[in-house]
């Protein structure tokens, strides 16, 4: 089929139904929000949740289970996309719900947060379904631009503005690098289509200098979006500076976007030269685990600490990818999803503890939580132990999957490095538990937060326990995806 012919075909819209729904609804929300008074802002909020629900239905009801390409091969719907999208909707919905009270108490409960959130979600969805470097870039920028604006969204807060500037400038550089790498890749392979690139790369030598050049630039972009060392500088500042509800979004839902970026570009497009990028990822992986865990110990701000903790978890995710086996990819996917579930709960706790005019983002704000609320101290205990990788919680199985993949690929030394760093990491998670349980509270106010927040947060923690005791379900989902992938 030549270009001229295909241009006259109407593309199959069905695979992109969810994206179309989200885009359409985002526009509707944009208009509706103009006419709603502040008192009725919940309408916007409700519409956004409805949008996510509709998108979920659109994704779930799309019948073909196998891989379908559309829009001249730039857009793909496959099992991976379906699962990741459904997961994105749920995480975004949870993020919206967690943020509601926090925003309202800060007079930030405006349509923009939710709208930008929807557009960012759309960006993630496009990234997930990307099958061409152009679509990848489109999704990436849609996501990033929405995130820049969300960070700056608390207009009067100089810290937020500063971190937004940092994020924007560094992010723009990273996007530039990625685009530059893409253009060289186009020069090397003659195509932007991921399948074409895959075929072209297969004929190339892994040490082809042009290819390596392109790879390095693309990896800079990916490393930045993931927040892997040495492209991690923005992470702690943005995590700390952004309003907590935005940090929550960046720390949870947006990570799925980074995952999709890596999956589509490196694994699907450039899987043939895994040897070449595997070694580069190895450096990022070890540095991330090391610096993330060690520097986190020195933090007194919880958001910043979780920022460094993210960096260390990214190290583990990269460990799964760099081994290059199917098992490794499966483990990395599983790890990311597990991490997102835990991160959502951790930031949810900060939001729960925050009140009007008071940010509970210092470690000391968790002091004596057990005396104030045994239930939510328990929730945080579960989250922290899970992040530290202590069984029987979800985080342990994720670590096990990644370590297993590394050992299986003969990288036992890497697994040992990983576990030793995770022991170092355990220290700062334990410190939170120490503050909550072993010390007396500095204030005895009961917890704020609406009952919906409390309920969903409890469910979130329950999910971490449940998936820790019965991990089979989630593991097998990713196993299926990876074994059915080409």
């Amino acid at each position: 089929m030549t270009v001229a012919e295909s241009a006259f075909l109407i593309p199959d819209f069905a695979p992109a139904a969810a994206e179309i729904v989200v885009l359409f609804m985002a526009c509707v929300v944009l208009v509706v929000d103009l006419f709603v008074s502040d008192r009725h802002r919940w309408i916007t909020y409700g519409l956004c949740l409805l949008t996510l629900l509709m998108a979920a239905m659109a994704t779930a009801m799309y019948v073909p289970r196998e891989t379908v390409l559309t829009f001249s091969g730039t857009f793909v719907s496959d099992p991976l996309a379906r699962v990741l999208k459904l997961f994105t909707y749920s995480v975004t919905a949870v993020v919206f719900l967690y943020s509601k009270d926090y925003l309202r108490e800060r007079a930030l409960f405006r349509g923009e947060y939710y709208l930008l959130g929807l557009f960012a979600t759309l960006g993630i969805m496009v990234l997930i379904s990307a099958h061409s470097m152009l679509t990848v870039y489109l999704g990436l920028e849609l996501l990033s631009l929405s995130l820049y604006a969300m960070v700056a969204f608390s207009r009067d807060d100089p810290v937020a503005a500063e971190s937004a500037m940092k994020y924007f400038i560094l992010g723009a550089i990273a996007s530039g690098c990625f685009l530059f790498g893409t253009s060289i890749l186009y020069g090397v392979t003659g195509s932007l289509d991921l399948a074409e690139i895959r075929r072209a790369v297969a004929t190339l030598d892994g040490l082809n200098i042009h290819l390596l050049f392109a790879l390095s630039f693309i990896l800079v972009g990916i490393g930045f979006k993931f927040g892997a060392v040495p492209f991690h500088m923005w992470v702690p500042d943005v995590y700390q500076g952004a309003p907590t509800s935005v940090t929550l979004f960046i720390g949870s839902a947006a990570k799925i976007g980074s995952l999709a970026l890596l999956m589509r570009v490196l694994v699907e497009g450039l899987g043939g030269v895994q040897q070449s990028w595997g070694d580069m990822l190895l450096v990022l992986c070890i540095l991330s685990m090391g610096i993330g865990n060690i520097v986190a110990i020195a933090q007194t701000n919880l958001k910043r600490m979780l920022g460094y903790s993210t960096i260390s978890h990214v190290g583990f995710i990269l460990m799964g990818f760099l081994v290059g086996t199917r098992q490794g990819i499966e483990a990395a996917l599983y790890y990311t999803v597990a991490y997102v579930i835990m991160a959502a709960a951790a930031f949810g706790m900060i939001l729960l503890l925050s009140r009007r005019g008071f940010e509970a983002d210092e470690l000391d704000d968790f002091r004596g939580l057990n005396a104030r609320s045994r239930w939510f101290a328990g929730v945080m205990l579960v989250v922290m132990f899970s992040m530290a990788g202590v069984p029987p919680f979800l985080g342990f199985w994720a670590k096990l999957a990644v370590l297993g993949a590394a050992v299986d690929a003969g990288l036992t030394w890497l697994a040992v490095t990983g576990v030793i760093f995770s022991v170092i990491g355990a220290f700062y998670y334990l410190r939170i538990i120490k503050l909550m349980y072993f010390e007396e509270p500095s204030d005895t106010l009961s917890l704020g937060g609406g009952s919906d927040l409390k309920l969903v947060l409890s469910l979130n923690a329950a999910l971490i326990v449940f998936l820790g005791v019965f991990p089979e379900g989630l593991i097998s989902i990713f196993n299926q995806i990876v074994t059915t992938a080409p």
């Binding site: 132990f385 202590v390 069984p391 199985w397 999957a401 050992v407 576990v419 022991v423 072993f438 089979e472």
Partner: protein, 502 residues
Amino acid sequence: MDFPLLSTLIWLPIAGGILVLLVGDRQPGLTRWMALGVSLATFVASVPLFSGFDRTTAAMQFVERASWIERYSVEYFLGVDGVSMPLILLTTFVTVLVIVAGWEVIRQRPSQYFAAFLIMEGVMNGVFASLDAMLFYVFWEAMLIPMFIIIGIWGGERRVYATLKFFLYTFLGSVLMLVALIYLYMRSGSYSILALHDFPLGLREQVLIFIAFLTAFAVKVPMWPVHTWLPDAHVEAPTGGSVILAAIMLKMGGYGFLRFSLPITPDASMTLDWLVIGLSLIAIVYIGFVALVQNDMKKLIAYSSIAHMGFVTLGFFLAYAIMRRTGSLSGAAMGIEGGMVQMVSHGLISGALFLCVGVLYDRMHSRQISDYGGVANTMPKFAALMVFFAMANAGLPGTSGFVGEFLVILASFRAQPWYAFLAATTLILGAAYTLWMVKRVVFGAVANNNVAALEDLSRREALVLGVLAVSVLLLGVWPAPLLDVMGPTVDHLVELMTRSKL
């Protein structure tokens, strides 16, 4: 057996603990009785384990097996043999005593305290009953969570330091074991411990795996030089925590050697037995001297625990030396049996001694030996029991402490008289530090007004210590039931650990 007995022993206390947690602190009376009820029920449930145990076989009994995580072939695979069964009984038994011992003493958040111990009990039973390596590891690590909380909330002044040190030390040891287990799984395709026993491995792999296991178990036992967490943890832990730590958690290290190191990496164990024996002897002799100079009662008992656990590891690893020296295996089983008896007996004796210190601490709020003197004058009943336990700790014949030490020393004679010579110094050192402490605390004239105002044991305390005294004595004069139970298992183990896998 159809009834899932082992599952009951694991999940009943855990469920009970969660229930206690939900009841909360509004009705402390109800909380306590519920906790006692659950622990008693668990103990009663564990009795059939002993009565229904087939003493003629080394095979696993009360087996339960179901798939858990198919993707990684992890199974819910439980079973006990002659090594693990006594330890489960010890766990259920000691937990009841700990609950009773904490009855009125714990005023701060009692529901969380009792719940932590109940959950702990279930998890510890899980460690001993698991026959799947990953299941074992899950329980092994999960155990740290309640203990971390117990030391941290109800501990002494430096509790935070002690509990963090305890957690990180043990965590570091066990993650290396995790990598070793994953490696074994990737090679053999199974996490089943029994399958791993038969899986052939090269010497280099075995040595690395052995070292990984050794890190995990040596920290737990603890062996010199990775023992430094123990005195801190013991001193700062509340009485119940010290008891569980000394009586059960230390045993997991020893159990790990029997279940993992020796049968899975027999050739590496043979190659490196000098290392374990050397460390054990250092623990026995050097730590014995260290115990002598302690001013803090709990610290003294903690160091004495390290020395006694040195006996356990010494007994376990004697087989190879015996084989090299005499060319036969007779006596090898004796060393292991001695180590096992020592584990059970040390569980009872050190638990009892910690309870004794707890009794004093509850009255005087001091653990310093120098604050006491002449306690026998005001607390005659207590003094009698404490002296008895001290004697048992020093290895007096007729108490359980003697049986284990005697068997191990006998076995070490066969291996190398020098081992026996060094090991036997414990009879002198042990007597010295324990009896000297007793002399300074219990005997002599009443030292000060605080001691003069002491009240003797309450009925609750007397009951707990009395029950322990009876069991120590019983095991001392009639260890046959215990030895019978583990006989076939130990013989089988000796066969496994001497069969080369190369």
